[in-house]
Symmetry: C2
Amino acid sequence: MTTTTPPITLDDVRSAAERLQGVAHRTPVLRSRTLDALVGAEVHLKCENFQRVGAFKFRGAYNAASRLTPAQLSRGIVAYSSGNHAQAVALAARELGTSAVIVMPEDAPPSKRAATEGYGAEIVTYDRYTGDRAAVAEALAAERGLTVVPPYEHPHVMAGQGTAALELVEEAGELGLLLAPVGGGGLIAGSATAVKGLRPATRVIGVEPEAGDDTKRSLEAGRRVSIPVPRTIADGQALPTPGELTFSVNRRLLDGIVLVGDDEIREAMRFAFERLKIVLEPSGATPLAALLTGRAAPLPGRVGVILSGGNVDAARFARLCGADD
Amino acid sequence: MTTTTPPITLDDVRSAAERLQGVAHRTPVLRSRTLDALVGAEVHLKCENFQRVGAFKFRGAYNAASRLTPAQLSRGIVAYSSGNHAQAVALAARELGTSAVIVMPEDAPPSKRAATEGYGAEIVTYDRYTGDRAAVAEALAAERGLTVVPPYEHPHVMAGQGTAALELVEEAGELGLLLAPVGGGGLIAGSATAVKGLRPATRVIGVEPEAGDDTKRSLEAGRRVSIPVPRTIADGQALPTPGELTFSVNRRLLDGIVLVGDDEIREAMRFAFERLKIVLEPSGATPLAALLTGRAAPLPGRVGVILSGGNVDAARFARLCGADD
């Protein structure tokens, strides 16, 4: 039996928090009497939908990019994403006075493209049916001397994402349970490192969409397994396999994974809208769905929840949640 | 020329704030870099959509009800409303250990009725085409010894609503301009009393829907005028004439009224959803619409805005704001 050094520690998360001070928002922690009464626990909601670019992704992207050397920063950074990571890297580059190239599929939604360009990034497109976005990014990196900022598979990215949980505990106090969504696994890896570093007895449970249960299966198998690319409304969690680095953290620290269905996610988005008066994208609503369905029960007295993002436009929200019922 | 004592003063608002401590939420004041950049000012958004019952109305209802005598409270309170005031009075009654009767039209939306009953109130219905809701409430009051809690036409109600602005200034500091919606006029009367009491130079501008410009016309005429019942999506502001008491305050204190159209209100609701990640009902979005359309220009460096409520269900939001465009 061997023990290996974990890729990140609580100190790495604390160091990221220092970097992010005054750059990332210290997002509010909301409470709801209605929610508390419904689930029978004191629930503290860390609202990363209010984060810059509308999602926690900025924390990791900025922490990673800010640690590049002046020479690296002078050449610029590159990322591949058509989601929140694209805007996060674009904004991090602007804040650090460097440039960003974002590799996106040709058919990415115009609004996502415009938002990313709005932060000053250059967009390079590829054909999602014939191209390989990682290869496109690597080729650009080699050709132009750019540094790739990955969406989760990096210690500085994981540590940056973990600052959301660190702030939550600083504000809410000790928690019996932390719930967070699991996509590539960076948010929950950083968050579990933070909360278990502060208080090992806190349970940490990840939430995946039913169709995207790659981390649940991997934890059960004791190794990373791949599933077909998930079809789910939770687009931030539609990944076929956990990251290698994130899984090495999560297999040590997570107490379990619960699954929620797309209809349950829709219901949680509607609950957030109508009762909490906040906007959550599908992935951002999965931990709330886990609470509302009782899937995370039994609950301790004090529960922390990371609502990871709010990037859903009004038209998509209307399609997902607007039907009278 | 005569001077009369104003119906409320800054001290009344401060006294209301003491009553509300620990009962009403001290709602967050949000900032948005995007909004600041768009309008060219530092904008402080007082989020009364996060207030209990989802709107500022609870502040006034509770302040007024809490000042009733024990004998009055033992008999109960009554109000007529199918909107936010209904839930506000129902919750105030529950908090004070008394009972509430709410007079609503027979065809009030089932969700509003259920929400009000959820706070323990008794609902009495009337026919909106043949009945007179004020008469129904007065008859109930006489018959059962109930006390009417009006939605705006009362000093304790106005003072209670004004605590929203008092908190805003306490948190944001001095403001050059305060924008707030005008319906019956209680929120802005209390708010103007608070902010001008603290700093007379602060301008206070009310926002009405174009179709519901009764306070604007009344200020221009120097007396209360009536208009046909307005047809507007801003249902909280669909009133034909200002209150007598509220108008007596507003004619002294307001620096003007600006009007916004229903399409501009929709656009502001969509902006709040997509950029601020918060839910606003149409009336709650009117001051934001005034900002986004430039109707409130020229702006001073620091602007306060009261976002008065967020009670719109997902289906109605989808109908109002969900079209792709």
